[in-house]
């Protein structure tokens, strides 16, 4: 395996916005990308720290997001609070395994994948590991991509509580849990964003 040439050795810095490789010398004059005028850093400063901070916040908020009820449905036969996991179980028991699976993927599988993936990336970068650098970069791309789909739950609750307003017959109201869940999604996305994937390839002493 031929050793990859680092941008530093080539005297180049990559713009993360438009992908233009800028020579370091020109950056001494202006720290902006000549093409898209966005700020160019050789490595995003404090990337791992910020990522870790957002990751911890996400994990911390994920607990109340699951423990607190996300929705309150009330009808003729009384009201009921439902949590995310409770809702999944209820759908599964009533035979709607497809919906159960979808909600499970969106609200349990995806966040956990993100936590584990970002955690793994942070750990390997910290250890300066050279293990599976290409796959880890792919993993980062996946994490970035699936981040948007985590909002599925929030949308379900928003739609249900907006549509199901039949007064006596039945109403659905959002509960605090969904706000936590929403924050979890935002925080994990911020966490993924603040991670600089170039660190995967850095070789530090």
């Amino acid at each position: 395996m031929t050793p990859l040439r680092q941008s530093l050795e080539l005297g180049l810095v990559l713009c993360r916005t438009c992908g233009l490789a800028v020579s370091r010398a020109s950056l001494e004059v202006d720290r902006r990308c000549p093409r898209c005028k966005s700020r160019i850093e050789h490595r995003t400063p404090f990337s791992t720290e910020t990522t870790l901070a957002f990751l911890i916040a996400g994990i911390a908020l994920y607990i109340p997001a699951n423990l607190l009820p996300v929705m309150h449905t009330s009808g003729l036969l009384g009201g009921q609070d439902s949590t995310i996991l409770g809702g999944i179980l209820e759908f599964w028991r009533s035979g709607d395994w497809d919906i159960a699976l979808l909600i499970f993927t969106a609200s349990v599988a995806v966040p956990f994948t993100k936590f584990i993936a970002i955690g793994l990336l942070l750990l390997t970068v910290r250890k300066n590991s050279r293990w599976q650098q290409r796959q880890r970069t792919t993993l980062y791309r996946i994490v970035e991509f699936i981040g948007y789909w985590s909002m599925l739950d929030v949308i379900v609750v928003a739609l249900t509580s907006a549509l199901m307003q039949f007064q006596m017959l039945g109403t659905a109201e959002a509960r605090a849990g969904i706000a936590f869940f929403c924050v979890v999604v935002v925080v994990t996305m911020l966490s993924a964003l603040s991670f600089d994937p170039r660190l995967i390839w850095d070789r530090r002493a």
Binding site: T2, I56, A57, A60, L61, L77, V187
Partner: protein, 552 residues
């Protein structure tokens, strides 16, 4: 792996220009700290809000669902059933419920739980909402101070589930009558409470628990008397027919009423405060306290048909007791069958005389009564059966003074007291009637009839003679009378000669009389005319004569 690349030279490294902006990334740590703080605060709140876990045992867990059945206090959910299991002995169902934190203070040692199901009673329909929503567990907090986590559920909901303000009272009665739980309690025809419990005590008497709502509980005083107001009270008195009832509901479902009793004497039957005697009716309740009854025995030598147990015993017209037994006795020496009547007397009802005697330092004992009765017997007091109503033939015992009765022996040491008796008035009446009948029997009726017959025959003969002889001559007489009257009538007719000549005669006599009066007048004025005769020249007209008379 590729060999380690040569580290970039010092000159190539970016200048440490970012050092002065280090506080911005540091700020990022506020996010997880805030998140952790929120999470921890939620946990603490959750832990703080975690209410007590309780277990309630019921005989049946019908309709109770884990996770769905609520525990409600005043119709507000305060908990939820978390488990339903059978007890170890399989006799009861143990329902576990987690209550909210606020409900913890409601859990007293005597807090009551019951399963609310639809119920339809005589005077109320309740729990209909549970038809749709399923059952729930009702809860009523208690007054005890102790805390409890394990309860035995009630099988029937308490009559008062929401603990209104008021006062609970226990009424004691020999029998409760037809009272239902929830039956109304009236104070002067206003409903002020209801029956909340009935129970049979160990001694066979009943205890009725009533609840008087605030502020009416202030009407309940130590002198208050309670009575059973079920049914209709119909009285036929001197002022006419009097029908009294508390309400139609009380007639149907039974009811109680209370009012102030006679205030001068406190009722004796009150045990602890809140315990009252329940009387059978208003009259009994409002009667002055009777004190303890004393039993007396009376020996009657006559049949007492119509004397029932419960018949009144009256002393000079005042009811002082009632008959409790009528037995047939046997006296060996004269082989007679006396009727032995046992009666209970309330000597206090005898009034001031007895009270005065009782107040003479003597306790209210049977000895006092014996002494009192002894003095009365000396004055002629006798027990006498009397007819209460000629229509029904019912008897009552009258204690009355019969001074004419023979002197009776009274032994004041015999217990129960034995009162001397006299035969009843109805027997005297019977004897009188008997005597009358005997007299009637003794009358010579046949002789009277024969005499009467003879008289009648004579009378008949007289009559026939009268008819044969007297009547025809009477007819002749009447005819002659008629003729006579006819001629009289003709004679008196206006056109008859007699009548005309009579008129002429009368006219003439009037003229004559006028002449006589003129003469008399003239003579009056000229008495000398009798001697000298009339002087024709001095005969003026009559008015002139009058004016000349006025001159002298």
């Amino acid at each position: 792996m590729s060999p380690a690349p040569t580290p970039p030279s010092k000159e190539e490294l970016p200048p440490p220009a970012l050092q002065n902006r280090r506080w911005i990334p540091r700020l990022v740590w506020a996010v997880p700290i805030a998140a952790a703080a929120i999470g921890i605060s939620l946990l603490i709140r959750n832990w703080e809000n975690a209410g007590p876990q309780i277990t309630i045992s019921f005989l049946s867990g019908e309709g109770v669902q884990v996770g769905k059945t609520l525990v409600k206090y005043r119709d507000v959910a305060v908990g939820r059933v978390s488990a339903v299991v059978l007890s170890a002995d399989h006799e009861t169902v143990v329902v576990s419920a987690s209550l909210s934190k606020e409900a913890a203070s409601l859990l007293k040692a005597d807090t009551q739980f019951w399963i609310v199901r639809p119920r339809i009673g005589v005077n109320s329909v309740s729990g209909l909402s549970t038809l749709l929503s399923g059952v729930y567990i009702g809860m009523k907090t208690g007054a005890a101070t102790g805390r409890e986590r394990q309860f035995v559920g009630l099988e029937n909901p308490p009559a008062l589930s929401h603990g209104p303000r008021g006062r609970e009272l226990q009424l004691h009665a020999a029998r409760a009558g037809s009272l239902a739980i929830g039956a109304p309690l009236y104070f002067r025809q206003f409903q002020v409470g209801r029956v909340i419990d009935e129970s049979l005590l160990g001694d066979g008497s009943t205890r009725v628990t009533v609840f008087v709502d605030a502020p009416y509980d202030g009407f309940v005083k130590p002198v208050t008397r309670f009575w059973n107001a079920s049914g209709i009270d119909v009285k036929l008195g001197a002022d006419g027919l009097n029908v009294q009832t508390e309400s139609l509901a009380a007639v149907l479902a039974g009811g109680l009423a209370f009012d102030d009793g006679p205030t001068e004497v406190l009722p004796t039957a009150v045990g602890m405060p809140g315990d009252f005697t329940l009387y059978k009716n208003e009259t009994e309740a409002m009667a002055p306290p009777d004190g303890d009854p004393h039993y007396v025995r009376m020996r009657f030598s006559q049949a007492l048909r119509g004397l029932d147990v419960g018949a009144p015993v009256e002393f000079v017209g005042v009811n002082i007791g009632s008959v409790v037994a009528v037995d047939l006795g046997y006296e060996r020496q004269n082989r007679s069958f006396p009727v032995i009547v046992t009666a209970k007397l309330y000597p206090r009802r005898m009034g001031q005389a007895y009270e005065a005697l009782a107040a003479q330092g003597k306790t209210e004992s049977v000895d006092t009564l014996a002494e009192f009765v002894g003095t009365l017997v000396d004055r002629g007091l006798r027990a006498q059966p009397r007819s209460a109503s000629l229509l029904t033939g019912k008897l009552y015992i009258a204690l009355d003074f019969l001074p004419a009765s023979p002197r009776a022996a009274f032994d004041s040491s015999i217990r129960p007291l034995e009162l001397p008796t006299a035969n009843g008035t109805f027997q005297e009446l019977e004897a009188g009637v008997g005597r009358l009948v005997k007299k009637l029997n003794d009358l010579p009726l046949e002789q009277i009839v024969v005499d009467l017959h003879t008289d009648l025959t004579d009378f008949h003969e007289t009559m026939s003679e009268l008819h044969g002889r007297v009547l025809p001559s009477a007819v002749d007489t009447l005819t002659a009378l008629h003729t006579t009257l006819d001629s009289v009538d003709r004679t008196l007719d206006v056109e008859s000669p007699l009548q005309r000549s009579l008129a002429e005669t009368l006219s003439e006599s009037r003229t004559t009389l006028q002449a006589v009066r003129e003469l008399a007048d003239y003579l009056d004025r000229h008495p000398d005319a009798l001697l000298r005769g009339r002087r024709p020249q001095k005969m003026p007209a009559r008015p002139a004569a009058l004016s000349s008379e006025a001159k002298p």
